[in-house]
């Protein structure tokens, strides 16, 4: 099994962002169902939604003194809104799950493999 990051990406013109709380409720429920399915199958590693990009702080610890800067790492028209870390036997399985996750959260999902195989249980 390999681990994959499924990250949900938003853009400023994302229709999701304009939804009212009532409209967004079914999306939450769909995501809950998707999460539960991942946990039931034992392939959930971690996941969660993130606060808006304005809440981010960039830390640069490469110099002598760490520098803290408000805002996202780079001016971007796209940002990560949430993510899952899942286990899958191969990319085809991960893509299939990402498609379900994308449908549930109504957002585009990027799939990236983790570098190392998880330590054997």
């Amino acid at each position: 099994m390999s681990q994959y990051l499924l990250s949900v990406h938003h853009t400023p013109d994302d229709p999701m962002l304009a939804l009212t709380p009532e409209e967004v409720q079914p999306v939450f429920e769909a995501v809950d169902r998707f999460n539960k399915m991942l946990m039931d199958q034992g392939i959930w590693v971690f996941g969660g939604g993130l606060h808006p990009i304005e809440a981010s702080t960039v830390v640069d610890g490469t110099g002598d003194e760490p520098i803290f800067t408000d805002g996202p790492f780079a001016e971007s028209k796209e940002w990560m809104g949430g993510f899952w870390v899942i286990e899958a036997p191969d990319l085809d399985a991960a893509l299939k799950l990402a498609a379900e996750g994308s449908k549930a959260c109504q957002g585009k999902v990027e799939v990236r493999p983790f570098q190392d195989e998880p330590p054997a249980a």
């Binding site: 390999s2 036997p89 191969d90 990319l91 085809d92 991960a94 893509l95 799939v111 990236r112 493999p113 570098q115």
Partner: protein, 413 residues
């Protein structure tokens, strides 16, 4: 033929088989390619003295596999468990498989082509990988075919191989619903390879022959592996029927349109094979876009002269094609047949409704219809637009000649 050249020819033909079998065995494309390369060197060293073995493909595969095992044994950085797993591949009867044309070896190539044409890879990488791993073309040859620097092509292939490895793109033939969808991707890659060779007006002729030949070879392999899929048969038929006309398609560097081609120069063997496949598709009655395009070509290759063409049949086929694969280009091609059936005026009305102003064939079709309607000034403008929209020298030469043959100007429009 020079001995080394003969060996290289055998190696080229066997390359996809060798690499596919090693990829299955070792799960690693780089190991497979490197071992295949070493097997070639061994052949060049041994065969001229010992003679070509009775089963050169089996010899190359066995040699490559042994080289790969040696290499893995030598490598100390692999953990013992991983190494043991590679060495003790559970596939028994491996030697037999490598030595004969058995089903399992074919399955390896099928697996590998689905990996090479995986939707998670960039389209240009799919084409390059397929030509490299299954076609056995060198990186330099692929770079020349696609008119990019060799370093660019090498990078493209390296990146794609890294993604297959790191993202764990499986070596597997997809099943169920996925197979149909993924097979469409494989067929698209093969057709793209064919068209690159057939349509490209630039690049050297040898490389273009190489590409059309390779696409047909891949099409035949796929047909052998998936004999009951009608679209696989359809694509092969489409390529064979197109190929049958290739040698009379150009004359002195100028494109010769279908109705002006010397039909005696068409390859009757390819046509017969293509027609058989089209008939087989018709009997299966599960039409798809390649089958329909093949059927259109079969109508053309069935007509002894251009005047005998069954245009009604062609219009029907394009309408069916539009139903399964709607595209303005299908409508444009259909309009060409409509012109023969209902006249240029009806066809022009259909063509003018299409939003294809960036496509040279749209301008060229309009130009021809306007010429037939005697609207010389409009036709001239359309020929100009068509010439400006294509880079293809043969096509430009043809269009320029047609423009030159227009009746004198009828005065300012």
């Amino acid at each position: 033929m020079d001995a080394t050249l003969a060996i290289e020819r055998i190696y080229r033909d066997e390359y996809g088989r060798i690499v596919a079998s090693l990829v299955r065995r070792f799960g690693d494309i780089d190991i497979a390619e490197e071992a295949a390369g070493e097997a070639l060197l061994a052949a060049v060293e041994k065969w001229p003295a010992d003679g070509v073995p009775p089963n050169p493909g089996g010899w190359l595969t066995t040699t490559a596999r042994n080289r790969a095992i040696d290499k893995i044994r030598r490598e100390s950085h692999r953990d013992a468990k991983h190494q043991a797993a590679l060495m003790l591949n559970p596939t028994s009867g491996d030697d037999d498989v490598a030595d004969k044309d058995t089903g399992l070896v074919e399955d390896d190539r099928l697996r590998l082509i689905f990996t090479c044409c995986h939707p998670a890879l960039a389209p240009e990488a799919r084409v390059a990988l397929t030509l490299r791993l299954l076609g056995g073309l060198t990186v330099a040859e692929i770079a020349r075919a696609f008119l990019v620097p060799e370093t660019t092509m090498a990078q493209r292939i390296t990146r794609a191989k890294a993604k297959i490895k790191n993202a764990h793109i499986p070596y597997r033939v997809p099943d169920g619903v996925d197979l149909t969808r993924r097979l469409a991707g494989v067929l698209a890659v093969i057709y793209l390879v064919y068209n690159e060779g057939y349509l490209s007006g630039s690049g050297d002729a040898d490389i273009r022959d190489e590409l059309t030949g390779e696409a047909i070879r891949l099409g035949r392999i796929l047909r052998q592996l998936l004999p009951t899929d009608p679209e696989v048969a359809g694509l092969l038929a489409l390529m064979l029927l197109t190929e049958s006309r290739r040698h009379v398609r150009l004359a002195a560097g100028e494109l010769v349109p279908l109705h002006e081609q010397d039909r005696g120069g068409w390859d009757r063997t390819l046509i017969a094979e293509g027609h058989d496949l089209v008939r087989e598709c018709l009997a299966l009655n599960r039409p798809g876009q390649y089958q329909l395009l093949a059927a259109v070509n079969a109508v053309h290759t069935d007509a002894p002269t251009a005047a005998d063409t069954d245009w009604g049949q062609i219009v029907t086929l394009y309408s069916q094609l539009y139903a399964v694969a709607p595209s303005p280009i299908v409508t444009l091609n259909r309009a060409v047949a409509v012109a023969e059936l209902d006249g240029a005026e009806v066809a022009l009305a259909e063509v003018d409704r299409l939003d294809l102003t960036g496509y040279h064939a749209w301008h060229a079709t309009r130009a021809d219809l306007l010429r037939r309607l005697g609207r010389s000034a409009d036709a001239r403008a359309a020929y100009d637009a068509a010439i400006a929209a294509t880079e293809n020298e043969a096509e430009r030469a043809y269009l320029s000649r047609r423009r030159g043959s227009l009746a004198g100007l009828e005065g300012p429009p």
